[in-house]
Symmetry: C2
Subunit: 242 residues, 2 copies
Amino acid sequence: MTDDTWSPPHILLAVDLVILTLRETHLHVLLVERGIEPYRGCAALPGGFLHNDREGLLAAAHRELDEEADLDATQLHLEQLGTYGDANRDPRGRVVSVTYLAIAPRLPEPTAGTDAARAAWRPVDAIVSGELPLAFDHDVIIADGIERARSKLEHTPLATAFCEPVFTISDLQQVYEAVWGVDLDPRNFYRKVQKVPNFLLPVDAERRVTKGRPARLFTAGPATTLHPPIPRPDHTASRQGE
Amino acid sequence: MTDDTWSPPHILLAVDLVILTLRETHLHVLLVERGIEPYRGCAALPGGFLHNDREGLLAAAHRELDEEADLDATQLHLEQLGTYGDANRDPRGRVVSVTYLAIAPRLPEPTAGTDAARAAWRPVDAIVSGELPLAFDHDVIIADGIERARSKLEHTPLATAFCEPVFTISDLQQVYEAVWGVDLDPRNFYRKVQKVPNFLLPVDAERRVTKGRPARLFTAGPATTLHPPIPRPDHTASRQGE
DNA sequence: GAAATAGTGTCTTTGAGACAATATGCA
DNA sequence: TGCATATTGTCTCAAAGACACTATTTC
């Protein structure tokens, strides 16, 4: 940064959270109902303004996660998604929002009696289709968050962050199918994820109640990137005509 | 965002740029010399504080690109890299910096007589190795920018942004080799990039002066993502020194 | 001619995807 | 038993990488 002269900035810095989870095989995002203008009564991402007392951005994200979603921030995958600062995105003035993407395992309804009482899980389908209008540019932020999650499923063990600490390969497949919005062959998926080194660690001699044959249980391994990756099925079949 | 009470924020918002280019087969980044404290005389990324008069973040990035690098912002690939807001990253107070990654073709030395007079291209090797100390956390920002560029080479036509409007496949290979820091087989590379639909468009019946056989010329095609990708060699193995 | 760079062919290994076949539980 | 889910096997095709070989220029 340089040493420009500048007028005293009247900029407010906010932190907003895109918290994704899986409910009933569908991807959901946590939204709150706004209590005041602008966009009063409208659905919006949980978030808030930065505390100026030397609070770091990531620390602020964790604080909002705790305050608004009543989620234990520890053990939750959290990463910076992007910063949104269009001049007119907030009618109150210049608000720049740093957004974070959080991935959570299956979770109960937000607890009443807390800041999170106004919060609820919403299926992302209703948002991307425009059925559920959102405050500010939060629809764009959510779309970016979903795309980020989709992309990271290919190369990172992010899918395990949607699962319980111990899970079956079928559980894992449901994550991929829900986030990507596709159907995958269970047999090929099974072999593929098992072949990636350090992706899944078998939990010795365990099983689980279901209808058919019991499934082996796994935990997330130490891998940070997947080699080879789990490729997302072709969503753009285009060919060159030379 | 919610409706928290908050103390009036004393936050300064800056925009910093990681401008990468290729010079003599090595990746370089544009750095300026700081004129005032803190870090006076130290190398730093070009950038500056946001003008508060409803200037968008991307617009601010373009403005700094023009002011400090004297580069024509049009035709330059520019994307948001990340936002850095650690509480103590700037001794003057709370400065949150939104960073952008810019990719430029081979460029001349920064023009004298402008804001860019203090600017110079520096090899990234000297920075990641710690030989050239940087102001603030700019070493981390540059490292993140390089990693972003490396990753995007695999799945996007970003490499063409390092090239002139018309280029040979050999030129393109040099980009991949410089950014990834590896050696690639020219014959496999040749076939591979040509096989990706809409990546390269042949320029009809052109050639270029060199020592050996003339090479065909290409321009960037309309592809936004590469199917199949150009895979980065296993970087757990060898790296090239020099 | 030799040297240098551009471009093609071919072989081997590996992974992706389709899908048959087998295993093991529950009603 | 029959059904449902889990797991294994096999086949085909495409892609990655190694590398011999041909093509076209300058010297």
